[in-house]
Amino acid sequence: MTSSEMVVNLLFYVFAVAAVAGALGVAASRNIVRSAFALLAVLFSAAALYALMKADFIAAAQVLIYVGGILVLIIFAVMLTHRITDVNVSNESTPGPAAFCAVLCLLFALVVIILPLPQPGPNKWDAGRAPETMREGPYAFVQYQADGKTGLANGGSTFENEVVVGVTIPEDRRAGLLRIVVRAVENPGKVKESLETKKAPDATLSPEKVRLAQEEARKTVAEPKSLEFAATPEKTETTHVRLKGLREAAYDWKVKLVGAEGESPWIGPKGDPNFVVHKGVTEPIALALADPYLLAFEAVSMLLLAALVGAAFLARKEVKE
């Protein structure tokens, strides 16, 4: 078990224990204010778990909306509706064996019966869909995520800065093959001004070269950046080329075979392979909200407006005549 696995496990268990403790506090505490603050622990732990799963936008939205809005509302309601006479024991519950047994049965059903059911798809919890093979003539191309095994769908997105491209070349074409070059070109529609132009360059370059590099970097805002990666052909049929150091952008890639006699033209497999590198979920969610979910978004905003007006009206103080 590497240290990073340990850290991930540790973080998960810390937040999971906090969430469960908070949930038990909400369910079983006799003081309603204590259960409100136990709910705070649950909400923060849930946000931490979202952040652990790299859904950063959702973690921030959870804290902003749930803790900053709903929990504050709940605490206000608790403080406005409790009678001054009984401060501590203001939250009785009627436990009864029935409810407890029902809930235990529900938990049993969820965890023991429903959870291990087989899921559709080749592999149970595959991160990403199955690898898609794209063919062009006698060659076959696949794109994988950084571990080289889980597939990266065409047009799919990955969170890491590395992608692996697998190129399968049949035996009869492999004579005299020196290198396989993959060129990944950033899709200009999604290029952002990057921090790369401002970082300190390699210290081993002479100052003149550094200045030239800076000049070039400074004027390439509109030009799509293209990166080339090469790999020597492996003994097996499929050669894996690792594309490293990718920025946060959308990439289209093509392959070139360099042999002893010369270079082949740039082979672009059918289906126009591309992938997107994301650092967080903000941009995908925004794109989804603008395109497939636009109607739902607008409808929810209308609903929120109605809820706002309705709540303000319902909670008004009646002026007693």
Binding site: M6, Q62, V63, G68, V72, I75, K199, Q214
Partner: protein, 437 residues
């Protein structure tokens, strides 16, 4: 014998994640110390500024001209008796100062102190800041409730209602600025203010005062800055919005029952919060760590800095202030400018160039960032001793009936202005790309 656990420990110690964890602890520790020192000095600065504005001297005895007064205050708070009333909810009473402080402290890790230097780099920088400030509200409610006193509870509820209400204009103005920048990342926002001109006319001029956020679409971004600043004053419970902690109104609001070290946590949290909202204002509106005039050579910075500092010192000395304070301010500014910008002295050398050593970048960026923040803090403290207090209903009226509609209209205007180049480009493309008509 099983040596597996030993190998595991070796692996842990050598793993990159472990080192990252240690790095987090070190940075966190340094940041907490920085906050503590800053908050302590901030109390001293506030008292001195208040005093000089009221034509008196302020703390004078501890240390030369009262410079060490903040240490005395800190020591006093630490050795005070810790009184916990009988009627309180003990667990929540003990917990709430830490929750409030944690909310403010967590905001410090996302601030862009210098180019490439931020305690943690976030994709969702500003959203994270807004989210974590909600912990402060919960902590305040916790403190008010756990104090077991009716007045503390009222103070806490008023304070929480005020903070939550004023988050709306803050969010709206920051949203209108985000339309201009197009990114949530605080460092990228500072980078975006390196170049540009008013109304997006020239995109490549070399930065300076006119490419700051506040000058992007002048009438509207200036309005956005003012709305943000007023709302930030209310967010941190500063005068004129300090009804929750005004001495004459509610004794001390939600922290009435706290004494000694616990009270100092609330104090620390308030000053840390002031720094955070000023830092957000600086990042979005005042250019972050960008200097006001970027392309003059560094020796000119030295000369200008010494001149400005010396002039300040001389002017203050002539008007009858303490000669010591005046010359200290003057000399300090000059020395700082010299230290930061003396990078070789070749013409055109600028500390933001890619080939300047990292320490120069850090010092320069941090200097300008802090200078702008302290200017905003000075204005906050100035307002405290100048303006009378708002009543609670006037405060809410200002937020919901004046600032929020203005912020909405501002958002509309800035959104329109941001989209205009694209629409113009499409219209001229429609007409054959040959210009209007």
């Amino acid at each position: 014998m099983n040596f597996e656990p030993l190998k595991l420990w070796e692996d842990v110690r050598n793993g990159g994640t472990f080192v990252a964890f240690l790095g987090i602890l070190v940075v966190g520790g340094a940041l907490i110390n920085l906050i503590a020192v800053y908050a302590g000095l901030s109390t001293l600065i506030e008292r001195k500024i208040a005093a000089h504005m009221q034509a008196r001297v302020g703390p004078y005895r501890v240390g030369p001209h009262g410079i060490l007064q903040w240490l005395a205050d800190a020591l006093k708070l630490m050795i005070k008796e810790d009184i916990i009333a009988k009627d309180t909810d003990h667990f929540l009473f003990r917990l709430s100062p830490y929750v409030v402080f944690a909310g403010s402290f967590a905001c410090w890790v996302a601030l862009p102190f210098a180019p490439g230097w931020s305690p943690a780099s976030f994709n969702i920088g500003i959203l994270y800041l807004l989210a974590v400030s909600s912990a402060v509200v919960i902590g305040i409610l916790m403190a008010g409730w756990a104090s077991g006193s009716k007045w503390a509870l009222f103070g806490a509820m008023r304070s929480a209602a005020q903070i939550v209400s004023y988050e709306v204009p803050i969010g709206l103005t920051l949203l209108s600025m985000l339309l201009i920048y197009g990114t949530l990342d605080m460092q990228e926002i500072c980078y975006a203010q390196e170049k540009g001109f008013l109304w997006g006319v020239f995109k490549d001029t070399n930065g300076g005062l006119w490419s700051w956020g506040i000058n992007r679409f002048p009438p509207f971004t200036i309005l956005a800055f003012l709305i943000y600043y007023i709302a930030a004053l209310a967010e941190t419970n500063r005068t004129p919005f300090d009804i929750p902690e005004a001495e004459s109104e509610l004794v001390a609001g939600y922290h009435t029952e706290y004494s000694g070290m616990r009270f100092s946590f609330f104090f620390l949290a308030e000053y840390a919060n002031m720094f955070v909202v000023s830092a957000i204002a600086t990042t979005f509106f005042l250019g972050g760590w960008n200097p006001p005039v970027p392309t003059i050579p560094s020796y000119l910075y030295l000369i200008v800095g010494a001149a400005v500092g010396g002039g300040f010192g001389y002017a203050l000395k002539r008007r009858g202030f303490d000669a010591f304070v005046g010359s200290m301010i003057g000399g300090g500014i000059g020395v700082l400018a010299a230290v930061i910008h003396l990078k070789g002295g070749a013409p055109g050398d600028h500390f933001l160039d890619s080939d300047s050593p990292a320490i120069v970048k850090f010092a320069g960026g941090a200097f300008w960032f802090s200078a702008k923040i302290f200017a905003l803090l000075f204005v906050m403290m100035w307002l405290r001793w100048t303006l009378p207090r708002y009543r609670v209903d006037q405060l809410m009226d200002l937020c919901w009936k004046k600032l929020t509609p203005l912020a909405f209209l501002n958002l509309l205007a800035i959104g329109f202005l941001t989209m205009t180049p694209q629409w113009w480009a499409r219209i001229s493309a429609l007409f054959g790309g040959g210009g209007p008509g």
